[in-house]
Amino acid sequence: MRTFAAAIDPRYLIVFLITLVLVVGEARYSILGGYDRLATTLGICIATELLLSWWLRGRVANVASAYITGISLALLIKPQANILWPFALGAFLSIASKYVLTYRGRHLWNPSNFGIALLVLVAADSVAILSHQWGNDLRINLVIWAFGLAVAWRARVLHVTLTYVACFAVLAVIRNAIVGGPLLAELAPITGPMYQLFVFFMVTDPRTTVSTRRGRMLVVALVAIFETLIRLAGDFQLPLLRPFYVSPPILALAIVGPLAMWWDLRRNGRRGPEEARPVVLTP
């Protein structure tokens, strides 16, 4: 069993995990809100990935990443009733960002993080994040957390996930000391489904994080700190930052992640087409 698990490319474990989230969530809570949404995002993500990789880089890319992005978008974007364009445009922009927003041949944003952050910031009249809460069901979330932690461990990104969770918990206590109210209200967000997607699929993305283990831990700590600043802005009702505090973690990552990536690439002189880079997750 151990040998079999060790032989599987960690990317496919991530694919398995997000598929599990999708299937369980849809079967139990109809989290998609319509299969047309899934078909749109998945279809456009994969088509965009295939087309752009072939056209710009001369070879067809593995679509595992586009698959993960497509499902993440389908699960997290919750637009006004019966409109599909946020899924279509969000999917295209997410994948295209990998080919357009690059530095030294590397893309800077996690694709789904970029797409969702963009939609939330410039299309707030049409798009919200995750109106569905998957039933707020402890049992379902425990299953996903268990699988997620196991996959993160196997993919060697558990340190990223755990660092973020630990930072979130400590900062929740600090926030509570500042703003008052029940401590559980500050801790509560991380028990929810948006954070499952965030800690297992966004902050751990090896393509858009820095090169060293210590650096990755530092980056997610910074993400958590930036998220706390956004949350405090929400608590103190800073009007200018209102677009940010509808989804603090995703927007914190969208700001901190690329800056850290840019700094890391610049410092180390890392360069080259994406596919030429060794896969961090390869055991």
């Binding site: 109809s30 056209w55 009733a81 707030a124 998957w134 039933g135």
Partner: protein, 585 residues
């Protein structure tokens, strides 16, 4: 070059997002040359102001949230003078409810104290959350049920604008935390039965809380609300709880219910709008039991506030409008407009888009043909808590909204709301039905500009002029009466438009209020169906006289299916007047 092309496509996609988003944000205004409403409550003698309940100090930190219900209005012709009267509820101990008697001269007079239905909000008894009228004893006078957070109260109309409290002898003195009720004759025995919905659990006494674990355990699939109860009218003024034997004891935090025959089998069904859960349709199996239908509702979980029935596309069916929550950035549940295809496909199709889907935090609503063009328009009241406009509770609530249910089930874990608003200062919507062209919001052009926290909407031709007026009860606010201004008659005649017919039905074999009677009016090339409601919207009830706009269509056949099951066809009725129709024996 290739990279430039991709970059241009990328930028174009971002521009498309901005443009499409702007279209969504800007799609809420339209002109109205046919709907004109003037707010005349004070001028009409209505100065009712709702008061919210005070609650146990254990939940003081979110009292503004919990106690943001109870402003309701229902319409009835209390004294059988063919002029509709209005009943408003308040929700704080010591504050009175109000019965406004129609003075037939454009004004109303509060007679609730003399009538004995004012001082209902008392410690130990609970506070009013709404009321529905129905002649449960078939004596020809509309009786009153007031549902409460506390003991519901049934008042028998003595016929001289006074009422007797008959709750104890009726068997209805059961503590509930209810926000809705409907009269219906589910077994077609000619006696009105009663369905009272439960919101918070019935073991909760909001003034003596034993626990703070009183909130929903899920925002989407909560089943820990109060139990809905069905009371069968067994005659002699007595009701018996038949909930479990009939299978309609939902505990899904029901906020509103409506009864009508959705599947054309001749028996009134029950449609529920549930907060924190999917809507429910209970199909009536010949009065012997109800079955929860799989009609495309079970997976679509939102926050149902009101359920309104209307034949939106003049197909001779009851379509359903259910209000929900939309707030920029945080949540787009969207209102549901469910087109009834039960007979063909066994389900409803949800078709709400644009202004129909997104009205803010929507509460009460009603369909009615405000311009007599033959299409049902829609009025929606919006807004939850209007307090300090510079502070917004949405962010604080979002902290716990995604969390595990056992965290926010306990009220003590909720962030304090303080003076913050929560979807406050939202405007009411008046949605003009343009048929295949869809609905357009004409509220501002029509003269509806209030930004109070609307809860209940009711429609009636209050002044017997052949046009529908609109009444809105507002939480912690004054009641509004939007008087419709009919278009210039000469202009109408020139256009051959604006005809109407109204029907007042009196049951004989059926319940005398004719609640549940289904009327289909044929005109022009279409037909429109309406039902005499025993409560509809959110804690509201329209006049039980049915009003049909006919546009420029010639009035054809009128078919009445009485609650008893008998059918009556009327030909040759004159338009532009009200007809009183008594059920043939």
């Amino acid at each position: 070059m290739k990279r430039l092309v991709v970059t241009l496509a990328f930028v174009a996609a971002i521009i498309a997002v901005v443009v499409l988003n702007g279209r969504a944000a800007g799609s809420v205004a339209g002109s109205s040359d046919a709907i004109h409403l003037s707010e005349v409550a004070h001028a009409s003698g209505i100065d009712f102001v709702h008061q919210s309940p005070t609650l146990d100090p254990k939940v003081e930190h979110i009292a503004a949230h919990i106690a943001a219900l109870g402003a309701c209005v229902s319409v009835a012709d209390v004294n059988n003078d063919n002029w509709p009267d209005l009943y408003f509820t308040s929700s704080r101990f010591g504050t009175p409810n109000a019965l406004y008697l129609n003075e037939k001269d454009g004004t109303f007079r509060d007679v609730s104290a003399q009538a004995g239905i004012a001082s209902l909000n008392r410690a130990g008894e609970g506070v009013s959350m709404g009321a529905v009228w129905g002649d449960y004893d078939n004596d020809g006078f509309e009786d009153l049920l007031v549902y409460k957070w506390g003991y519901p109260q049934l008042f028998r109309n003595l016929g001289n604008v006074t009422f007797a409290d008959v709750t104890v002898q009726s068997g209805l003195r059961v503590w509930m935390n209810s926000n809705g009720a409907v009269w219906l004759d589910f077994d077609r025995d000619g006696l009105l039965d009663l369905y009272i919905t439960g919101y918070f659990r019935s073991d909760i006494d909001f003034w003596n809380l034993r626990t703070t674990r009183i909130m929903q355990h899920s925002w989407e699939f909560a089943t820990n609300g109060g139990k809905n109860l069905l009371f069968k009218n067994v005659g002699n003024g007595r009701f018996v709880d038949v909930t479990d034997s009939l299978g309609v004891g939902s505990t899904r935090w029901t906020l509103a219910a409506a009864a009508a025959d959705f599947n054309d089998d001749g028996w009134p069904d029950l449609y529920l709008a549930n907060d924190y859960g999917p809507e429910e349709l209970f199909l009536n199996r010949e009065g012997k039991r109800f079955e929860l239908a799989r009609a495309g509702l079970e997976d679509d979980s939102k926050s149902g506030m009101a359920v309104v029935l209307g034949d939106v596309y003049n197909r001779g069916r009851h379509d359903v409008f259910v209000t929900n929550i939309s707030v920029k950035g945080f949540l787009f549940q969207g209102n549901n407009l469910r087109v009834n295809f039960l007979k063909e496909l066994g389900r409803f199709d949800e078709v709400a888009t644009g202004v129909v889907a997104d009205a803010g935090w929507a509460w009460g609503a009603q369909f009615g043909d405000l311009n007599n063009d033959g299409l049902l328009d829609l009025v929606v009241a919006n807004g939850f808590i209007s307090a300090d406009s510079t502070r917004d509770y949405w962010y604080a609530m979002s902290k716990i909204a995604g969390a595990q249910g056992n965290i926010f089930e306990d009220a003590k874990n909720w962030p304090p709301i303080g003076r913050a608003s929560l979807s406050g200062y939202e405007r009411s919507r008046v949605l003009l039905n343009r048929g295949e062209a869809g609905f357009v919001d004409v509220a501002e052009a029509a003269g509806v500009t209030d930004r109070l926290d609307g809860r209940s909407v009711a429609m009636a031709d209050l002044f017997n002029r052949g046009v529908l007026d609109v009444v809105i009860a507002n939480q912690k606010g004054r009641a509004l009466l939007y008087r419709s201004s009919p278009p210039d008659p000469l202009s109408l005649r020139e256009r051959g438009n604006g005809h109407w017919i109204a029907l007042k039905l009196i049951g004989s074999r059926s319940n005398r209020s004719a609640i549940g009677a289904e009327v289909t009016v044929e005109f022009g090339g279409g037909r429109q169906r309406q039902v005499v409601d025993g409560g509809m919207g959110f804690c509201g009830q329209n006049d039980r006289r049915l009003h049909f706009g006919l546009g420029n269509g010639r009035l054809g056949r009128v078919t009445i299916r009485w609650p008893s099951g008998s059918e009556q066809v009327l030909d040759g009725l004159a338009s532009d007047q009200m007809h009183v129709v008594t059920e043939p024996r």
